[in-house]
């Protein structure tokens, strides 16, 4: 299994960054709930290609981005619908609309596939952003050889997507995508928010519970454990005080024009 390391970073780094990124890399090279390992790696590849996509650049400049006709720069084997989802989330997320999302579904993308794409895209965006912030090269993605090597050691049920859908998932006015009920005690997904309730940003990807588990894992290292997020006095023992964390978080969110 390919591990992520930051040995080339000229600063002392907490080891939990590399450890959590390695856990995500391991997920990336395994079958997900809706996507194969190869598709998951292709999504990660497409995230990086989106940065240089001329069609995305033109849409970013357009007043009505989704009215523009064109073709994304793409070397993967993902379907055009998946590529559209990946590139739009990476390059112009603040202008996505429910109509755009529903259009993807009407053309054949499954809602579970979409949510798994969201989870994979945002994890890569975050990990790549971290590398850029530290001034080092993006970490090499897992390869098909890694997938094959891991596949030889995995149980059969881990090699293909199982399309698991939680029983308590439902469509609501709380989001475009179906989500688990906020009250999830006693369900197989009770581990996602042990307090029994949580914010919509954590629920958002709960149609694919493993995407929430990845979010929890990475956020605990980059920011805070979920149980501490709503406790403004908790500092997590980091070099940054909580108010400094929230200043950075708020500015990044504002620059991304995030209403939430």
């Amino acid at each position: 299994m390919q591990a992520v390391n930051y040995d080339d970073v000229p600063y002392s780094l907490r080891t939990d960054f590399a450890e959590s990124h390695t856990r995500f890399w391991q997920r990336l090279q395994s079958a997900g709930t809706w996507l194969t390992a190869k598709q998951r790696i292709d999504v990660a590849t497409a995230v990086r290609e989106a940065a240089d996509c001329e069609y995305c650049r033109q849409r970013k400049l357009a007043l009505s981005p989704h009215a523009l006709v064109g073709q994304h720069s793409d070397t993967t084997n993902l379907s055009p619908l998946m590529i559209e989802a990946v590139h739009a989330i990476v390059t112009d997320a603040s202008r996505l609309t429910r109509t755009w999302y529903e259009g993807l579904l009407q053309k054949g993308l499954m809602d579970g596939e979409y949510v798994e794409i969201v989870g994979t895209v945002v994890s890569i965006v975050s990990i790549d952003s971290f590398a850029r912030a530290l001034g080092v090269a993006l970490r090499p993605l897992p390869t098909l050889d890694d997938v094959a090597a891991l596949g030889n050691t995995q149980k059969t049920d881990k090699k293909e997507p199982n399309r698991y859908q939680p029983k308590t998932v439902e469509a609501s006015d709380d989001a475009w995508v179906p989500m688990l009920n906020a009250e999830n005690a006693g369900t197989p997904e009770a581990d996602l928010w042990p307090s029994g309730k949580t914010g919509n940003v954590v629920r958002a990807m709960s149609l694919v519970p493993d995407e929430v588990r990845t979010l929890i894992d990475l956020s605990a290292v980059h920011y805070l454990e979920m149980k501490s997020v709503r406790q403004p006095g908790v500092d997590a023992g980091r070099a940054l005080k909580r108010s400094q964390m929230e200043l950075v978080a708020g500015r990044v969110s504002a620059l991304n024009q995030c209403y939430y």
């Binding site: 850029r132 909580r242 991304n256």
Partner: protein, 113 residues
């Protein structure tokens, strides 16, 4: 959460700095932290290098690394919200006045578009 955490640390805070940059009040290293956050969102390597070097020089490398972690975390969180169309829920009412005064309501609520 910024307002609540600054109160916990007994620091005055200018919340407008979150929306527009500039002086943020009594939060230590605020100027350098804001510049680093802005550089990371810009994605421009040269700008990031300048902001990173300044933050390390002023606050030390551990602060810079943690700031890189937080900033990159929120590069993720904003995209989750935007791409799933979630609503604010009960927080909308609680934060209504603050959101209006800061201009956050000028950003599109994904659930309504």
């Amino acid at each position: 959460m910024l307002r609540a955490s600054s109160e916990t640390h007994d620091e005055s805070i200018n919340l407008d700095a979150v929306m527009a940059g500039g002086a943020a009040g009594e939060i230590e290293f605020a100027t350098e932290l804001l510049a680093f956050a802005e550089a990371i969102v810009s994605g421009e390597d040269h700008t990031i290098t300048i902001a990173r070097d300044q933050l390390v020089k002023t606050a030390g490398q551990d602060v810079m690394v943690d700031a890189a972690g937080v900033a990159s975390n929120f590069q993720r969180m904003v995209r989750i919200a935007d791409s799933t169309g979630i609503v604010l829920g009960p927080m909308a009412e609680v934060t209504s006045d603050l959101r209006e005064s800061l201009g956050i309501n000028s950003f599109a609520n994904r659930s309504s578009v």
